[in-house]
């Protein structure tokens, strides 16, 4: 199969869905001529025009508000917020409006929109351009949250997200944009709420999200040299969350390590740990559930400090050794 990058996979999903469904359009800052801050939408303007690849002023609240209004009246907007840090500016629209309209109106309205946004540290962009805020939307009933780690998943999950009749927060990762992987040319969807086992193993389950999946896989390679066989589970969507696949894996291995880049406190790792602890896997645990996450600090600018703020391969290796040895 041909290999393309994560960014190309997202672009291909957008292109194919815009060709298939004229209700789909893009809006956000610098999507058009500029091609998006990370080049994801580059070239789509030429193909679809300014109406459907719509550059907006720097007005995050109105971008999301407009996407909701358009979704409510028959369109299927895909909005982009340039950095996930800036969803905070649009939280009123997202949380109080988009997420709740359907329920508040007795199930008689639908809000089919996707909000794409890149998260993550590692680019030296410091505290206001590096956050992973996925726990925020996960906490809001009415929103779905998707976090792909591979080009294949990015395309299939984005197509499924655009076709979903609910507001979906589609969290991309800046460091994943240039990663490559096999992606079918044809149109395909990956259902939201289905985890994927990225590597099978019998000694330890690592549940990792987004970029951390890649680091967990690298760690698993190293650990395999030592005879530790790691199973890597990628939830792919945080809401809905596939607790069944996670629990089944933990029941097999008896050990669970949760890895995410966002801050530890109040992060999705706490929720995942709870799902394991209160579920059928509890009786199978041979060690306490362990979480490895970003430090509870803003992302620092300095390269070395930034590196030590979020989990790296060696941290995962070390945590896994402790769990298996302990």
């Amino acid at each position: 199969m041909r290999e393309i990058t994560y960014a190309e996979a997202i672009r291909e999903a957008l292109r194919q869905e815009m060709q298939r469904d004229e209700r789909v359009f893009l809006l956000g800052e610098d999507l058009g001529v500029y091609g998006g801050a990370f080049g994801v939408t580059y070239g789509l303007l030429v193909e679809f025009g300014e109406e459907r690849v719509r550059d907006t002023p720097i007005s995050e609240a109105a971008i999301v508000g407009a996407a909701i209004g358009a979704a409510l009246t028959g369109m299927r907007p895909v909005a982009e917020i340039m950095f996930m840090d800036f969803i905070t500016i649009a939280m009123e629209e997202l949380v109080n409006q988009g997420a709740k309209l359907r329920f508040m109106f007795g199930g008689k309205a639908k809000v089919p929109l996707v909000l794409r946004t890149p998260a993550g540290a590692g680019t030296g962009a410091a505290a206001q351009h590096s956050q992973s805020l996925e726990a925020w939307p996960v906490h809001v009933p009415g929103l779905k949250v998707v976090m792909p780690s591979t080009p294949y998943d990015a395309k299939g999950l984005l197509l499924a997200s655009i076709r979903d009749d609910n507001p979906v927060i589609f969290v991309e990762h800046k460091l994943l944009y240039k990663t490559k992987g096999p992606v079918p040319e044809e149109d395909y969807t990956i259902p939201l709420g289905v985890a994927d086992i990225k590597r099978e193993g019998k000694d330890l389950t690592v549940i990792a999200t987004s970029l951390m999946v890649l680091r967990a896989l690298q760690a698993a390679e190293e650990l395999a040299q030592e005879g530790i066989e790691v199973e890597v589970v990628d939830p792919r969507t945080l809401k809905p969350f596939d607790a069944e696949t996670v629990n089944r894996s933990v029941m097999k291995t008896g050990r669970a390590l949760i890895v995410h880049e966002a801050c530890l406190t109040g992060g999705v790792g706490a929720e995942i740990a709870a799902r394991i602890a209160e579920g059928p896997a509890f009786d199978y645990l041979d060690a306490p559930i362990k979480r490895l996450a970003g430090l509870d600090i803003p992302i620092p600018y300095n390269r070395n400090l930034e590196y030590h703020t979020v989990p790296q391969v060696e941290n995962i290796v070390e945590a896994a050794r402790e769990l298996v040895g302990g």
Binding site: A62, T73, R102, F105, G106, D165
Partner: protein, 319 residues
């Protein structure tokens, strides 16, 4: 010039709104309503005048003080009252209540609990109308308080640069809860802010239903014809407190009484009688008809079932 039947319909709607809200107030006092409510008594002319300028397929976005908008857009007061009383037969199956009544089929995209909550969505509805080429217009209501939120500026700018068919109608009832417009604005007229977005800004007597109608019609026709958005400010006054917790320490009885002298319903009634569109007897019959409809609505709502707890999870996500 408006037809006699349209003029009569407008007066009927104003009576219906007033009567609905007086009944709502009464039901609250009797402990039959859960939660709070925001009454628009005294502001009926902005709702009826503005929505009177729309076509049936046009959209509105309403506010927390939205009973009048909902009725003027053609809602069934029985279903509204059922929602108000939290019943399964209500517009939102009892999940929304007074602050969230929506009637998607009737083009009412919803009242909103957040001040200015509809202003951003209006941009999207306008964009959707334009992209689908349906020739509709979106009329977005908001209050004076909402005009000081950031989204007001973001959204009006966006509607203007994209020439969207949006009519922004500010019901300036003089207070955002207790904060008077005199204290909250450095300008006298909120409509002046239209200049910043290069769109027409018009001030109108919000207690004169025909003045509101005419100003809105001009804006609606401009929007429908591709001329882009407008901002209309209707100066009006809410007779009742902000919500049920209001002790009204921020204004005098004299001020309230002075505005009651300018009752939009009595003014319009006197005008229609003066112009011989109706006579006293017909006006009285209209008021009586409104009472009958509201009593019917209460009976319907009281007889309606409560939502069943087994359905509590329904409606969070679309299938």
């Amino acid at each position: 010039m408006l037809s006699e039947s349209k003029l009569k319909e407008m007066l009927h709607q104003m009576y219906l709104i007033r009567t609905f809200e007086e009944k709502a107030d009464e039901l609250y006092a009797l402990g039959k309503v859960h939660g709070t409510m925001h009454l628009s008594i005294g502001q009926e002319a902005t709702a009826v005048g503005a929505i009177g300028a729309l076509r049936p397929k046009d959209y509105i976005l309403s506010t927390h003080r939205g009973h009048g908008h909902c009725i003027a857009k053609g809602a069934d007061v029985k279903i509204m009252m059922a929602e108000f009383m939290g019943k399964e037969t209500g517009y939102c199956r009892g999940r929304g209540g007074s602050m969230h009544i929506a009637d998607m089929e009737g083009g009412n995209l919803g009242a909103n609990g957040v001040v200015g909550g509809g202003i951003g969505m209006a941009v999207g509805a306008g964009l959707s109308i334009k992209m689908r080429g349906t020739g509709q217009v979106i009329l977005c209501f908001f209050g004076d308080g909402a005009a000081n939120r950031g989204i007001f500026h973001e959204a009006l700018n966006m509607a203007a640069i994209w020439t969207l068919p949006v009519v922004y109608l500010c019901e300036n009832n003089q207070y955002g809860m207790s904060m008077s417009v005199v204290r909250a604005f450095s300008i006298k007229d909120i409509a002046d802010r239209a200049a910043a977005y290069n769109m027409p800004g018009v001030v109108v007597d919000g207690n004169d239903v025909l003045a509101v109608y005419e100003a809105t019609l001009e804006a609606v026709e401009r929007a429908r014809g591709g001329g882009g958005p407008s901002l209309i400010e209707g100066k009006t006054y809410r007779w009742k407190g902000h919500s049920k917790s209001d002790q009204e320490r921020y204004r005098t009885k004299g001020e309230v009484e002075a505005w009651k002298e300018r009752c939009p319903i009595l003014r319009f009634r006197a005008r229609l009688i003066g112009e011989r569109v109706i006579d006293e007897a017909e006006a009285n019959r209209m008021a009586e008809e409104a009472r009958r409809l509201v009593e019917e609505a209460v009976a319907f709502a009281e007889a309606s079932p409560e939502p069943s707890v087994e359905t509590i999870l329904e409606g969070v996500y679309a299938p």
